[in-house]
Symmetry: C2
Subunit: 373 residues, 2 copies
């Protein structure tokens, strides 16, 4: 066995044994009725998790590929896009936009806070040239949930497209793609879909589709015009990441068996439990807009957050995530409660966290974690 | 079990049980020393299959992504690239080049034939603006092998880069990347590397790297500048297709245990056996420059090639490939002999082919396949 650890990171999340076993069966060819039947099935079933009637396209690639596809397929050089920047992944939209000669306008939100929908409305009112608004459902680096419903209400009254990065949030934090007027929803396989990484997804609204016809940025691999043609035959233009698609069919079966609403409820309850327990341990929560996907807590003063994660992982077999990037490194820990992560794993993980913090404090001579109260 | 069939298609090829089992182990996190050690190891070991000292970059994506990366990372709009078009996959270079505003110059070679290196030299001499030459190692759609050694000799004397698509050929047909002066080698996981699809590879020569600095085409996901930084830490900029990388480590171990030279020899022998047997059966070979990766044979007159493949697959459990695209559909069958495909599977597959052809001929009343002699 490679690793019998408890995995509480915001992706990859644990892959249930039934899915792993299915993906380990002998491989078969993808240009066959057998594959097309499966791919047609998952393409339909994905809609139930995306809560949409729109087509959902599946790419072989990481989530970042679908973020790029969501910008490039719908824009031309010079187009203004509003990026709500409240963490490392939100900021990636700006980097992609710049790389393609778009004109990103940053709406900076302090780390740990959610964007105020009103601010987005004001930015759109001030600048009519803004062609799209990019928002995180759950900003993974800070564990912050955006109010996509309110944002959708505002953006839908303009010509701008609403692009939501739900790579980690989809299937954990509620996202009503159609009812909330979201044009493009991005996701990935290794989060609440309980699969290994390697698949990325994008749902496309009719409003976005109309825009696609005027987009001039160069593209080929993720050019949705190729995918549109293929999906009509339950196929992909290029070789699909076949085994992951097989796993996806199984994971979608499991999701349907539990029920998406029940899953949202379970993740919300586990998130609440995580937050309550962390606070009882004397830790301060980092996010002011908590998510059902992942929870971030401040590392007590005098404790090295990176070392904490390392001890938990290497000595105690519990893998949590630390902070990402210059601003957050060593300062927070992040505990995930989506996908196949259950209450039992969270309980064990939080117990190990408490124990490790005590050990680190006693060995460092620090008496308490006053900064967290 | 999903499919106990004998798989003789040019990708995906069968995935050995040891690799499948390893990939089915519980997943772990990729931003860890555990993963970096594995990724560092595979990045080094890949060089032994690519026969290069150059860095080999690993992408989460299909082979087409790496074809695009090989053009986009090294060119600017308007750049002329010579595309040797001798099949469906070669032609994809032209489509990608056009999508990015490059200026592709087509060197058309009849299907079934290999490009004459001399023609490439003439094209380069005639047009000094050509910045790159795109060639297939094995053109999968026609089973044709290019003389990359001779082509490399010619291109290396110019400023042009030599781009070789070895998606199917790598590790089956000999390709001496460094000795033959190949600048960019493209490959994919689901061929001779014996893995499921989902990883794509690109090796980059110093000559290509120098060109990268002047390339202006927009890119982000496969921008090698991100990958260059990460690979120094044995990491990738975005989430890797983790389980496939784990499988890759196992497949590279298996390849080293057999020895790359022994594998080239085995594939060549199995290819020779396949060609001999097909000819004994009265079938005409399609390729005038046979490859050790895949063999293509003409379907006898009066036989529907698509029906032949369908009967073999659905009634007899042997999966071979038919012809691709308008020009080839129903006219050839393709039998693969790379990766984990052994003599036994080929023997069985060819036996089933002979049997099926006989049945189809007797039921159609056709007496012989005279067009093939």
């Amino acid at each position: 066995m490679i690793n019998p650890a408890i995995l509480l990171t915001p992706g990859p999340t644990p892959v249930p044994e039934a899915i792993r076993k299915l993906m380990a069966e002998p491989i078969f060819h993808h240009r066959t009725p057998q594959y097309r039947k499966i791919f047609g099935d998952v393409s339909e079933r994905l809609k139930k998790v995306f809560l949409t009637e729109n087509p959902v396209y599946t790419f072989a690639g990481s989530g970042t590929l679908a973020m790029e596809a969501a910008l490039v397929n719908f824009h031309s050089a010079g187009d203004k896009v509003l990026v709500v920047e409240n963490g490392k992944f939100a900021e990636r939209f700006t980097l992609i936009a710049k790389a393609f000669g778009l004109n990103p306008v940053s709406l900076k939100v302090p780390y740990g806070e959610a964007p105020a929908p009103r601010q987005i409305g004001e930015a759109l009112a001030k600048d009519k040239d803004i062609r799209a608004v990019c928002v995180q459902l759950c900003e993974t680096s800070t564990a912050v949930l955006s109010d996509v419903k309110a944002i959708g209400e505002i953006v839908s009254k303009t010509d701008a497209l609403l692009i939501v990065d739900a790579i980690s949030g989809l299937g954990a934090d509620r996202l009503e793609t159609d009812k909330w007027h979201v044009d493009l929803v991005i996701s990935g396989s290794q989060k609440a879909l309980m699969l290994p990484p390697g698949l990325a997804f994008l749902s496309v609204s009719p409003k976005a589709k109309a825009r696609m016809a005027t987009a001039k940025l160069p593209r080929y691999y993720y050019d949705l015009r190729h995918y549109e043609k293929s999906i009509a035959d339950n196929d992909t233009p290029w070789t699909p990441a076949l085994t992951l698609v097989l796993g996806l069919q199984k994971s979608l079966e499991m999701i349907e068996a539990e029920g998406v609403d029940n899953i949202f409820r379970r993740c919300a309850e586990n998130a609440q439990y995580t937050r309550d327990t962390l606070q009882k341990m004397g830790l301060k929560l980092f996010s002011k807009a908590p998510s059902s996907t992942v929870t971030a807590a401040c590392v007590p003063e005098g404790i090295d957050g990176e070392k904490l994660c390392k001890i938990m992982r290497d000595e105690k077999g519990v893998v949590v995530a630390g902070g990402q990037g210059e601003q957050m490194k060593g300062k927070i820990i992040r505990i995930c409660h989506m996908g196949a992560i259950g209450r039992k794993e969270i309980e064990t993980g939080l117990g190990v966290l408490e124990e490790t913090l005590k050990e680190m404090k006693s060995s460092s001579g620090s008496s308490c974690c006053c900064s967290c109260k």
